[in-house]
């Protein structure tokens, strides 16, 4: 209030309109009712009939002007030209205006206009315009940032995309670089600003303006850089932010607010929001007809809206890891996690220990399944036939798409650690998916499949056949686990190695699961099955010409493996 105009200082609204004229009219009346002079620009491509009806509808509104019409296509100079001419009318016709607020027909004032007027009156020399140098902003849609200012863009991006792209390529190849006039520093930012009369008139009345106009005419998206750059030359105090709340999707297109955003918008304390869905009756009703004057508000605070909209972009770009569904089906390598949560696979443990599954469940609190990939059915924990998500234990359904089965199981039980048994007797098709999954923790006691054979009552010839087959399968499986593509955390012990000191490796595996109940150290050990005579059993197999090697060295006659001098560390493949 240095110039003594004091109370008369006004906020003028420049409004750019191209569709939804009934809403534009409603908002124009709202601004006007609070005493704001208005200058409205309607896109030249609006049919004359619509435009005339719109002008007629607003004919009773005081302090309202229509400015010369330009064709406004996104990303082109027309928007700047329209803004310039409307702003000139505003400055010339309404001398009391101190701040000019650039809005669109789909903008909606969220707070009473008086609060905006008061807010600006308290900051008489501040320009609110988002304005940042190209190096400092992440909004580079289409791979163009600084090149917006150094190449020419005579072709429309919307209508002539091919020419647009080709011409950019050509200029890049030829090494064309435009000179930026008077060494101004290009800035970019939201198209929606609020400038003081001083700054705005300095831009519009600059003797160099023809030079700048000629330059910006061929810049890409000049409406996001013309005023943003030139304001830097004259403004006394720039607040680099827009008073208009507007959010963009991952392609850089403005988001639209709908009725269900009402509470979010209320709590944002922003002055104006765009774009509003023209049919959002509840929003227009709430903010124009019964505005909420009760709260004492100061600064806009769009934090919550920012978070929710950033989350939407994340969901669109990265999705929920481990989810396969009708609109998220990543190609191999782009899954961002094959499954949604870590899980543990135990191979050979329930063969070696008599009560391994109940012991594991008791000491970790995790859900422990049997052999999920058993040939006859998926052995869900506690003998269930249907798991979370109505996942069936049918082997046919599981084997029809084993990967979907595993991904579904882990997804359906989010929040609960899953453990299951696996072995050479199971359907093996899933092995690569597990090996390549960095959520998998796979612990293997090799050769433990021989224990059930050892305990069985089969004829020895059958045992010999089965042992040969299981050994062949497990050996192949180990090749997979040791391959260079494996991302799972894999630990492999031979059976001989493991029985020598079982607690240490068990503790390591369980610690890594990171379940609080097991952190204090294992209080009890699982009960190992009686291996008396196992060495002789292996010797018998050898005598029959089958060579069991995966279980390590169990000499015949000894019940426990021979102590070997330096003990090897567990084998950790990463």
């Amino acid at each position: 209030m240095t110039d003594g105009q004091g109370q008369q200082a006004q906020v003028g609204i420049v409004m750019l309109v191209h569709t939804a004229f009934h809403r534009a009219e409603q908002v124009a009346r709202h601004w006007s009712a609070a005493g704001c002079p208005l200058v409205i620009h309607a896109d030249k491509s609006v049919p004359a009939k619509t435009y005339d009806a719109f002008m007629k509808a607003l004919s009773d509104v005081p302090n309202l002007r229509f400015s010369r019409r330009y064709r406004c296509e996104w990303g082109t100079w027309g928007l700047v030209a329209a803004t310039q001419s409307a702003a000139e009318v505003m400055l010339a016709d309404f001398p009391e205006v101190r701040h000019v607020y650039l809005a669109s027909g789909s903008c909606l004032p969220l707070r009473p206009v008086e609060e905006l007027i008061e807010y600006l009156a308290q900051r008489p020399q501040t320009d609110f315009i988002e304005s940042a140098t190209t190096a400092d902003v992440p909004w580079t849609i289409g791979g163009l940032d600084h090149e917006r200012f150094t190449l020419r863009f005579p072709f429309s991006w919307r209508r002539h995309r091919y020419l647009f792209d080709k011409y950019v390529d050509l200029q890049r190849r030829l090494g064309v670089r435009r000179n930026i006039p008077n060494a101004i520093v290009p800035h970019m930012g939201s198209q929606w600003w609020c400038l003081t009369r001083q700054t705005l008139s300095a831009i519009l009345q600059d003797p160099e303006r023809p030079t700048y106009d000629r330059y910006f005419r061929r810049v890409w998206i000049p409406d996001e850089s013309y005023f943003q750059t030139l304001a830097r030359l004259y403004a006394r105090r720039i607040e680099s932010r827009s008073l208009t709340l507007s959010k963009f999707d991952y392609q850089g297109k403005p988001h639209i607010f709908y009725d269900d955003h009402l509470q979010l918008l209320r709590r944002s304390d922003c002055f104006v929001a765009r774009k509003i869905w023209p049919d959002a009756d509840r929003l227009y009703q709430a903010f124009l007809k019964d505005p909420d004057n009760t709260m004492a508000r100061t600064e806009p605070n769009p934090g919550k809206i920012d978070r929710i909209f950033a989350k939407a972009v994340d969901r669109r770009v990265y999705g929920r890891a481990g989810l396969y569904m009708q609109s998220r089906f990543p190609v191999e390598g782009r899954e961002n996690g094959l499954t949604s949560a870590p899980y543990s696979v135990f191979e050979g443990f329930s063969e070696l220990f008599e009560d391994f599954e109940t012991w594991l469940a008791r000491s970790t609190g995790a859900r422990v399944h049997g052999h999920l990939f058993a040939p006859d059915r998926a052995q869900f924990s506690d003998g269930q036939t249907v798991m979370n998500g109505a996942l069936s234990d049918s082997a046919a359904l599981r084997d029809y798409n084993p990967r979907a089965f595993l991904a579904n199981l882990i997804w359906n039980t989010r929040g609960e650690r899953q453990c299951f048994q696996f072995g050479p007797g199971d359907t093996q098709t899933i092995e690569w998916d597990m090996a390549k999954d960095n959520n998998a923790q796979i612990s293997v006691i090799t050769g433990a499949w021989a224990v059930p054979l050892f305990k069985s009552n089969l004829n020895f010839a059958d045992i010999r056949t089965a042992a040969a087959q299981l050994q062949r399968i497990e050996s192949k499986h180990l090749d997979v686990l040791r391959s260079q593509w494996t991302k799972a955390r894999v630990r492999i012990w031979s059976m001989a190695e493991f029985v020598e000191s079982p607690m240490e490796p068990l503790q390591v595996v369980i610690d890594e699961m990171g379940l609080s109940r097991a952190q204090r150290g294992l209080s009890e050990a699982p009960r190992m099955t009686d291996l008396t005579g196992f060495g002789q059993f292996l010797q018998n197999l050898k005598n029959q010409g089958m060579h069991p090697y995966l279980m390590g060295n169990f000499p015949a006659g000894h019940d426990m493996p021979e102590p070997r001098p330096p003990k090897r560390k567990p084998y950790l493949v990463r």
């Binding site: 999707d249 991952y250 969901r315 669109r316 009708q326 899954e335 979370n388 109505a390």
Partner: protein, 347 residues
């Protein structure tokens, strides 16, 4: 070597695209011929406004389902329904003819030979849906999508267009009651999901079809209960029911896939989530038990109908589809959180 393989793959793809182009032309021609099977009953298509959202469907004896069906989709913003009545004898025809926003045609010709009604609808879509967003549904499908309770179909269509999408995927979700099917009650016009409250939430299996590039989704209660021994035969659940129609488009098999095949790309392959919806399937209303005998006999619902005899027999035996892991339906946000559908980037 690698380059050579790439080139071969590209050539193969071009050849496939060319074959599919002819397939699409064949389908359109087929629709053109089948137009003679349709007799107009009440043609109100002159009242279709530019940009209006349309729905197209073939019905047979759906008098029970139609009142809720029409009411629900009107509420979503469907402005006009294009309906083919395939020989109903339960009053469906008169009911539909009396609706101001329904244009009705009738035919007695074979449903199966019309590719399950699709040929007829393709013809109606050529005539009336060009340039409109069009929902193609069955009478037992209730379409929902993220925010359907607050944002109408025009908002959805606007969002899709701004994203550059011309089609929208929606998976079928079989809804069922707790207890034997025939022992439930349902009165025409009621919300069917007060009877069919339950669904299978996490047993869907997906493969990508190499030719049409759509996702082949199977699973749900029918796979669990009727096809656990022969999953390959389990019904296909993925559909693309909402399309910004062009008279050159054609559905290939039901609304599971369509041509040109870019319209089948309703899913993201780079790890992100596209927006998608759900077709709540009201097949298991009590009358299904009575009707499954009739459907088995008519052999009009599957291309290889004899494979599905045991399915119809089980249904006719009035089964209870519920299991302790069934989930009770509460609304779209629940389905979104479970990952059955997605809001994608629509905040």
């Amino acid at each position: 070597m690698r380059e050579w393989q790439d080139r071969r793959a590209r050539l193969r793809d071009l050849a496939m695209a060319y074959r599919l182009r002819w397939k699409r032309r064949r389908l359109l021609f087929r629709a053109l011929r089948k137009r003679r099977q349709l007799t107009p009953v009440s043609d109100r298509t002159a009242g279709i406004a530019p940009g209006a959202i349309l729905a197209a469907m073939t019905v047979r004896n759906e008098a029970t389902r139609l009142p809720f069906f029409l009411e629900h989709h009107r509420r979503l913003g469907v402005a006009h329904f294009l309906v083919v009545d395939n020989g109903s004898d339960d009053g469906t025809r008169d009911y539909l003819a009396a609706q101001a926003d329904v244009s009705l045609w009738s035919t007695q010709a074979s449903y199966r030979l019309s590719r399950f009604g699709v040929d007829w609808l393709t013809w109606l879509q050529i005539r009336h849906a060009h340039g409109h967003w069009c929902l193609t549904l069955d009478a037992d499908e209730i379409f929902i999508y993220p925010y359907h309770d607050t944002r109408d179909l025009r908002a959805l269509a606007g969002w899709l267009e701004r994203q550059g999408h011309a089609s929208f995927g929606a998976m079928m979700l079989d809804m069922y009651p707790k207890g034997p099917l025939a022992e439930q009650t349902y009165a025409s016009g009621d919300d069917p999901f007060r009877t069919l409250q339950w669904f299978d939430s996490g047993n869907y299996m997906i493969q990508r079809k190499p030719d049409l590039q759509n996702l082949w989704i199977q699973g749900g209660v029918r796979a669990r209960r009727f096809f656990a021994g022969n999953p390959r035969r389990a019904p296909t659940m993925g559909k693309t029911p909402f399309v910004k129609w062009n008279r050159r488009y054609a559905y290939v098999s039901s609304t599971h896939s369509l041509l040109p095949r870019r319209l089948n790309h309703v899913y993201d392959t780079e790890g992100g989530e596209r927006i998608s919806g759900i077709l709540l399937h009201t097949k298991f209303l009590p009358e299904v038990v009575r009707r499954s005998g009739e459907e088995k006999h008519r052999q009009e619902h599957f291309a290889n109908s004899r494979f599905y005899d045991s399915y119809y027999d089980t249904l006719a035996g009035n089964p209870d589809l519920w299991c302790p892991q069934s989930r009770r339906f509460t609304g779209w946000r629940q389905l979104e959180a479970m990952g059955l559908m997605s809001r994608g980037g629509w905040p």
